[in-house]
């Protein structure tokens, strides 16, 4: 398969004006161009399901009220847009998206709304105008912003939130590379230092150093390699917002729901087929949001599900079997480690191996529910 004759350009427009534009921010130049392209194509935003830009696509997505199922943020200087076209063409040809918006906008001369402002203290970005000024300082002060609302709306208890950390130590207890493997109780969680209410230290991920890498190839070559097979069955991606205060519903991640639905549809598996699960746990509430947004349990049921041991060793849905970001390692962008543990479980080589794993689901998050990625792996040979 090549991309030859698979894809066409149906909308194309520049910004309304070019030249010296001191009244337009860089973001608005992207937006203005996008609106002009939509008009040229004769479509409205509801038909756009993919966004590529050097600007964080979650900014464009949230501005237009779109939750896309394909995104690209490749930023390689002035040729980025040609690469976006190539990536978008591959996505459309593979069925990952149908109608992709690609934008450029640059206040190259007037520098309006460009990072770096008049001084480092003055910030004209969305976080700078609407969040940083309120004392936001890192993920610990933002990521859990919706938790108190989630607890109130669902009746989930603080003990159930704490039980996420307790459950994951039962896995890391047998993982030599995990930073922390001691078993803990919910009392231990509540007695740990308060970081940013309602998060105690043991509800927060580690901060460590490390890395990981993957090598991929086509399924027909998998048998040529000495490693145990790990096939990709399903994939998904999405973005929601660049600032946490603008999540559509702070008790649920739109990006989780969109990315995971794409992965399940592509893989043609059901939730019952999943026998291993990794949900990126930057904080204790992520596995809770994840279990519900991915559809493994109903609304408000995740806390009790974890507390009852269903995701612990011996449970019916083993989750975060390396101990997760809470106990294994967390460099800042932990998603690679979630993938690595899933690959090990699929290969049968994990430190705390679950018996008989055939199909694993990996859910990643980026930023403060800004973005999400989903992957489904299997060791079963290709079949319909």
């Amino acid at each position: 398969m090549s991309l030859r004759y698979k894809v066409g350009i149906v909308g194309a427009a520049e910004s309304t004006e070019l030249g010296t534009l001191p009244d337009q921010s860089q973001t608005q130049l992207h937006v203005d161009s996008a609106v002009n392209a939509m008009k040229d194509a004769g479509i409205d935003k509801t038909q756009i399901d993919g966004i590529a830009s050097t600007l964080n696509p979650s900014i464009l997505a949230n501005y237009f009220g779109i939750v896309p199922k394909w995104v690209d943020n490749t930023s390689l200087g002035g040729t980025s847009f040609l690469i976006h076209v190539r990536h978008a063409a591959a996505a459309i040809a593979s069925g990952l998206a149908t109608t992709v918006l690609i934008t450029h906008g640059e206040s190259g001369r007037s520098r309006v709304g460009v990072a770096g402002g008049r001084g480092s203290q003055r910030d004209n970005s969305y976080p700078g105008q609407f969040e940083s000024i309120y004392g936001v300082f890192g993920p610990t002060t933002q990521f859990g912003m919706g938790v108190l609302r989630y607890l109130k709306e669902t009746g989930t208890t603080m003990e159930q939130l704490a039980s996420v950390a307790v459950a994951q130590r039962k896995w890391s207890n047998k993982v030599p590379r995990a930073k922390f493997g001691d078993l803990i109780t919910t009392d231990d969680v509540f007695e740990s230092r308060m970081i940013c209410y309602p998060f105690n230290l043991l509800m927060c991920c580690l901060v460590t150093d490390g890395g990981g890498a993957l090598i991929l190839t086509s399924a027909d070559r998998v048998g040529d390699f000495k490693t145990n097979p790990c096939y990709i069955m399903g994939t998904g991606e999405s973005v929601e917002t660049s600032i946490v205060s603008q999540m559509y519903d702070m008790t649920s991640s739109a990006a989780f729901r969109t990315a995971s639905s794409s992965a399940f549809a592509e893989a043609k598996v059901s939730h019952d087929d999943i026998d291993h699960l990794m949900i990126y746990d930057a904080f204790a509430h992520l596995p809770i949001y994840g279990l519900e947004d991915l559809g493994f349990v109903g609304r408000g049921e995740a806390g009790a599900f974890i507390e009852a041991g269903n995701t612990s060793p011996g449970g019916k849905l083993p989750m975060n079997t390396n101990g997760g970001g809470l106990s294994y390692t967390h460099t800042g962008m932990y998603g690679m480690f979630a993938i690595q543990e899933a690959v090990r479980q699929i290969r049968g080589e994990a430190a705390h191996q679950v018996d008989g794993v055939k199909t694993s689901f990996v859910q990643g998050v980026g930023g403060m529910f800004m973005a999400a990625g989903s992957l489904i792996f299997t060791n079963e040979p290709p079949h319909d």
């Binding site: 609106v35 939509m38 501005y63 105008q129 309120y134 300082f137 912003m145 109130k152 603008q246």
Partner: protein, 138 residues
């Protein structure tokens, strides 16, 4: 206080958010509404996030809202030492949109900050040319 002494972040408007910050400076909270689909929204944009129309106009908000959710930060960043512990809150405006802010006029503790409690906006002139909207119990 001078800018040298004020160590907290300072918001810098861009053209499409200038009206919001100008009104905040006058101690008024202004959001926007769409004349095509009646959607009311915040943060400031030149297009409606519901229907993409550019037929949008500023409207003054009532300044009333409620506490949607919050966190209480125990580990202040530089410039915030005197405020700690302080809540970072999400306010549900009466008109529908949500915004982040701080809660003043009451000690920021879990016992005092009750979800859905009514709030009203106040304006903090933090510098000669910078005002930041905050919220107090109504």
């Amino acid at each position: 206080m001078t800018e040298q002494e004020y160590r907290k972040p300072i918001p810098e408007p861009v053209p499409e958010t200038q009206f919001y910050w100008d009104k905040v400076r006058e101690h008024e909270l202004w959001i926007q509404k769409c004349n095509e689909c009646s959607h009311v929204f915040f943060y400031p944009r030149l297009h409606c996030p519901q229907c993409t129309s550019d037929n949008v106009e500023p409207m003054q908000a009532s300044g009333k809202g409620s506490l949607y959710t919050y966190m209480i930060n125990q580990r202040p960043p530089p410039g915030w030492e005197a405020d700690a512990p302080y809540a970072i809150a999400i306010i549900q405006l009466e008109e529908g949109p949500r915004m982040m802010s701080n809660i003043v006029g009451i000690e920021n503790t879990p016992e005092n900050l009750v979800l859905d409690m009514p709030l009203e906006v106040v304006f903090d002139d933090v510098l000669p040319d910078v005002t930041i909207p905050k919220w107090k119990p109504a």
